[in-house]
């Protein structure tokens, strides 16, 4: 049985459907992420799981038992808030002791477990400090220690790294992954940051407009987006309007305005005549002065329209055919690369037929 099951959850505010029929199952021990732009309903969903809000219809089952009528303090679920929500009038140790006190655990045991928790997050010497005296990263660790000290079944994290600067955020991501592995508690993580979601999660639910667009492993989400929204939201992606002219068993031919015919993989189904987009990741496109054509590849000649030097890579926007712009990415360490192309340089680009995904409208 799944640890947490959501069945057809609906929550609207007036006319606005914040969560619009969401169902999913979250397995025990999973690092699960709700990913989406702001207003997609991910935070509302999290608040309903925590018990601060209730769905108008649908069920929230923990170990098969409906939680909807259970108040937040009776749910074995803790939350790490975006603002950390550390009690400013209590010391770090008192903050961590709070959930244990609420469970009427003896003083001696509380002291012991607080000490352990402080050790776990490497803050043993900060127990007597007030939250206001800690750095952002330290506060984050206290919030985690406080939420984990009473061993909840489920930990909810609401954009916990959003307030940290980038360097610290990367370090905290690694710490989170290790921590989750160590404690073995199921995490539900909410974020709008797709790189964070890809880096941390076992599975991701991409949400938009109160609905789940795709629920999958990070690599599936990235490589096989199910629709235009997912392809566009996760990473960078060329979305080229296309129409299927001939659909074979394995391959199919797409007609692209201004470019001509392109071979693509047939995702299955009767697609001849249908319209959609070809979603093509920039890093899967080869770019060079001259590229030898291998079998199964599409190759086009064009010129560099613009480029962005990013340090590790250079992003080229290449104009091919009549006004079709395709973004391609070239690592700057690429062997044999003579120079960085400049705007106006003639180049060739190519990609394998199965590098992209055709998304039917």
């Amino acid at each position: 049985m799944a640890l947490l099951e959501l069945r057809n959850i609906v929550r609207s505010f007036g006319d606005f459907a914040a969560v619009d029929g969401v169902s999913m199952m979250i397995e025990s021990g999973e690092f699960f992420t709700l990913l989406g732009p702001s207003g997609c309903g991910k935070t509302t969903l999290l608040r309903m799981i925590a018990g601060f809000d209730a769905p108008q219809s649908g069920e929230i089952l923990l170990d098969g038992k409906d939680l909807v009528a259970t108040p937040p303090e009776k749910r074995p679920i803790h939350t790490v808030f975006q603002s950390y929500a550390l009690f400013p009038h209590m010391t770090v140790a008192q903050n961590i002791a709070f959930p244990l006190r609420m469970r009427k655990i003896g003083k001696a045991e509380i002291n012991e477990r607080v000490k352990e928790a402080l050790d776990d997050v490497r803050l043993s010497d900060r127990g007597g400090r007030f939250p206001g005296e800690l750095s952002g990263g330290q506060r984050q660790r206290v919030a985690l220690a406080r939420a984990l000290v009473s061993r909840p079944r489920l930990l909810l994290l609401d954009e916990p790294l959003a307030a940290l600067d980038m360097k610290l955020r990367e370090q905290m991501q690694l710490e989170l992954i290790n921590l989750q592995k160590e404690v073995g508690i199921t995490f539900i993580y909410v974020t709008h940051d797709q790189t964070e979601a890809l880096a941390l999660s076992h599975r991701i639910a991409v949400m938009n407009g109160g609905k789940v667009e795709q629920l999958d492993e990070p690599s599936k989400i990235y490589d096989c987006p199910r629709n235009r929204f997912v392809a566009d939201f996760i990473g960078t992606c060329n979305l080229i309007e296309a129409k299927v002219t001939v659909a074979g068993e394995e391959k199919m031919v797409l007609e692209i305005d201004g470019l001509g015919e392109v071979t693509a993989r047939n995702p299955g189904g009767e697609l001849t005549g249908s319209k959609g987009v070809l979603a093509l990741r920039p890093e899967k496109i080869k770019i060079g002065q001259q590229i030898a054509l291998e079998s199964g590849e599409n190759r086009f000649r064009g010129k560099v329209h613009d480029f962005l030097y990013m340090g590790d890579v250079t992003v080229y926007i290449v104009e091919v055919g009549e006004g079709v712009h395709i973004e391609a990415l070239l690592p700057n360490s690429a062997a044999g690369r003579p120079r960085i192309f400049a705007a106006g340089d003639p180049v060739e680009i190519s990609w394998r037929y199965d590098a992209g995904v055709f998304l039917n409208d």
């Binding site: 925590a50 018990g51 601060f52 108040p71 937040p72 303090e73 679920i77 803790h78 939350t79 808030f81 975006q82 603002s83 929500a85 009690f87 400013p88 009038h89 709070f98 959930p99 609420m102 469970r103 007030f130 939250p131 206001g132 005296e133 406080r146 939420a147 009473s150």
Partner: protein
């Protein structure tokens, strides 16, 4: 030049505000019956004050009313402030804030009519009830602004970590807004102890408070004794206001 002009007008403004008070304080130490010229330093008027039974009784009444009224108004005002913050009801703020804006004289008259209508003998009780009524709004405003400055997720975090709604209030919300509650209480106390208009209408014949007593004394003449009692009243309220402004702004550690 404009800088000097600014300084001069600033000084003039302060003189306008404080010179009358300085004169009152100075003459309270003047060894003369007349507030006309400086004769010499004396404690005489303060001594007289503490031998004046009517004055002492009025002072006792004032303290009793101020303590009772500020306590009751703090309890009720805190609840009102919490409700204002918690529930976005449209009428509630108007109902609580309106008494602050209505002219005092109107409040006084209406309370008088009300007390007569319900057959309540005017006296200490009627004054105290009136003071509670006009202090609630001030306490509510101070408490609400304190609540507005508090991170909403703090009481939620308490609930999330296993606290009942009451525990979340007692262990998290209350300690965090306590400075606001205390500031509201001090404000209520100072408002009550020097209130004249509403007290005047609701006092009846028996009970007198310090401001009423001072007023009845100056009907004859402004005696140095009045200066002395005014000085003491001023010191008390000033002291309380200073404390209130000290505790109110973010005195909670770790903010």
């Amino acid at each position: 030049m404009p800088k000097r002009l600014l300084a001069a007008s600033g000084i003039a403004a302060y003189l306008f505000l404080y010179l009358p008070l300085v004169i009152v304080v100075a003459y309270s130490f003047n060894d003369s019956r007349l507030n006309a010229e400086w004769v010499g330093f004396t404690w005489r008027w303060y001594k007289a004050l503490f031998e004046d039974d009517a004055m002492l009784k009025a002072a006792g009444n004032s303290l009793f009313i101020a303590l009772t009224a500020s306590f009751a108004a703090t309890v009720l005002g805190t609840m009102a402030g919490y409700a204002l913050h918690r529930y976005r009801l449209r009428l509630l703020p108007v109902l609580i804030m309106a008494p602050l804006a209505i002219p005092e004289i109107l409040v006084g008259v209406s309370l008088l009519i009300f007390f007569v209508a319900v057959n309540l003998t005017l006296g200490l009780l009627s004054i105290t009830l009136s003071h509670i009524a006009f202090c609630i709004g001030f306490v509510a405003i101070v408490v609400r602004s304190r609540l507005a400055g508090m991170d909403e997720s703090l009481p939620e975090a308490a609930r999330d970590l296993g606290a009942s709604p009451w525990q979340a209030f007692r262990l998290v919300t209350f300690p965090l807004i306590a400075p606001g509650i205390l500031a509201g209480a001090l404000l209520a106390f100072t408002l009550s102890i020097d209130d004249f208009v509403i007290t005047f209408f609701t006092a009846g014949v028996g009970a007198s408070t310090l401001p009423l007593q001072i007023y009845s004394m100056i009907k004859i003449a402004v005696t140095p004794e009045v200066n002395a009692v005014s000085t003491l009243l001023m010191l008390l309220t000033l002291f309380l206001i200073v404390i209130a402004s000290r505790i109110s702004p973010d005195s909670v550690r770790g903010k």
